[in-house]
Symmetry: C2
Subunit: 228 residues, 2 copies
Amino acid sequence: MSHTLGVRQAQKQKTRRALLDAALGLLEGQSLSSLGLREVTRAVGVAPTAFYRHFRSTADLGVALVEEALGSLHPTIRTTVSTTGDSEERIARAVELIADHVDAHPAHVRFIARERHGGVQPVREAIREQLARFAGEVGEALAEDPVSAGWSEDDRLMLAQLYVDQMLVTASLFLEALEAGTEAEAGPRKREQERERVTRLATRQLRLIGIGRRHWLDGPAGDGLAAS
Amino acid sequence: MSHTLGVRQAQKQKTRRALLDAALGLLEGQSLSSLGLREVTRAVGVAPTAFYRHFRSTADLGVALVEEALGSLHPTIRTTVSTTGDSEERIARAVELIADHVDAHPAHVRFIARERHGGVQPVREAIREQLARFAGEVGEALAEDPVSAGWSEDDRLMLAQLYVDQMLVTASLFLEALEAGTEAEAGPRKREQERERVTRLATRQLRLIGIGRRHWLDGPAGDGLAAS
DNA sequence: AATTCCGGAGAACAGTTGTTAACTGCATGG
DNA sequence: CCATGCAGTTAACAACTGTTCTCCGGAATT
C-alpha cells in the first residue's frame, strides 16, 4: 500500500497545500469571487502559471477548500448528535464543540459562512451538498433517539435542518466573538466576555428547540394556550 | 414643504438610482468585494468618474443598498409579529409574508444573504446593525404577547434573535426555490413545487419553535422525559 | 544509462482596474 | 442677465488581471 508517495508527488502536494493555505489567508479580508489567481501565487512565492498545475480556476480551489473545511466533519457531528446523556449535558457539549472548532479553524468557518451564499456558484453548490449530508446524518441520528420516537422522517429532517442552520449561526457568532478580541487594544478580555455571551445565547436557543421537540407530538390541540 | 426638488437634484438622484439598480443587478452573479466601479458605470452608460459624485467607493454604495433593502422593513416586521390571531394563522401569515417579499425583491434578499458574511466590513456592520434593530423590535413585540408573560428580557431577546435568523434562513430558501425555476427548461412547474416545499418546512420549524416557546417556563424539571 | 514525463519559470498578450486632473454645459441664485 | 455651482465628460496614468506559449531541470520510467 502507501508507498511513501515519491519525491515528485510529495513536492506537488506541498505547493498545493501552500496554495490552499495562502488562499484561505487572503480570504479573511475578501470573498472568493474577488480572489485573483496571481494574488495567490504571489503570496506563495511561485509563478502564476504554476497555479494551473493544481486548479483550473480559483472557483476550483474554492471547491477544494469546501471539501477540506467540511468533509472531515461528518464523523464528529454524527458522534456528537447521537451521544447519550442528559438533555442539558448534550446541549452544553454541542455548544462547546462548536466553540472549540471555531477556535481551532477560524479561517475555515469564515470561509464557509462567507461563501455559502457567495458569488461563486460551484462553491455554493458544494457547500449546499455538504450541509445536506449533515442534515441527513443528523436526521438518521434522531431516528435512534427515543425523544423522536413516532416521528415521520419528514419531521425528523425538518428538525435536523433546524439544528444544522442553528449550528452555522452559532459558529458565525463565535467567530465574531473571536474577532472582537482582535480589534486593536480591546484585548482578550472582551473576547472572553463575548464568547461567554454567545455560549449562553446558543445554549438557551438549543434548549428552547429541545423543549419544542419534546412536545412536538402532544397533539395539535394540546397546547392549552391560545396566542393573544 | 416638498418643493418638487428642482431639475438639478432630480437628475442627480436619477443617476444615483441607476447606479444602485445596476449594481444590484451585477451583484446577482458576484459579491460586492469584486464589484468594480467601472463595471457599474459602464452598465449605466455613464463615465467612470461620475461615480464619485455619488459614492466614495463601492463599499459605500453597498452600505446604501443595505439601507434600501432593510431600512423600510421595520414597520412591516413590527406589525407582522404583533398581529393577533391563532398561533397557526400567525405562522402562516409570517411565512407567506416572507415568500411574497422574496418574490417582490429577490435581488435585495440575495444581496443581504450574500453580504451579511461577505468580504466588505462596513457592509457587514450595516447589516448587523439593522438585524440587531429587528431583533430588538421583535423582542419588544414579544413583551406584549401573553405567551411570553413572565419572561426575562434576556430570554425575550434570545427568542427574537432565533426568529430573525430563522427569517433569513427561510428567505434564502425561498430565493433558491425561485432560482430553481429559472434554470433553463425546468420551467415554473418546479419553482412552484419548491416554493410549496419551503413553505411547509418553514411553517413546521416555526411551529416547533412556538411549542418550545409555550413550554419555556414549564420548569427545569418539568419535561418528564430523559433523553436516551 | 538513455528517454520520457511534468511541475514550475519566464515572457509576453490584450484587457481591465481605481484615481487624478482639467474640461464642458447647464440649472441655479443673486 | 450674469456669475457661480456642480453633475458629468474626456484623457491619461500606473498597476493589475487571466491566459497562452515556450522553455528548463530533475524525477520517473524503461
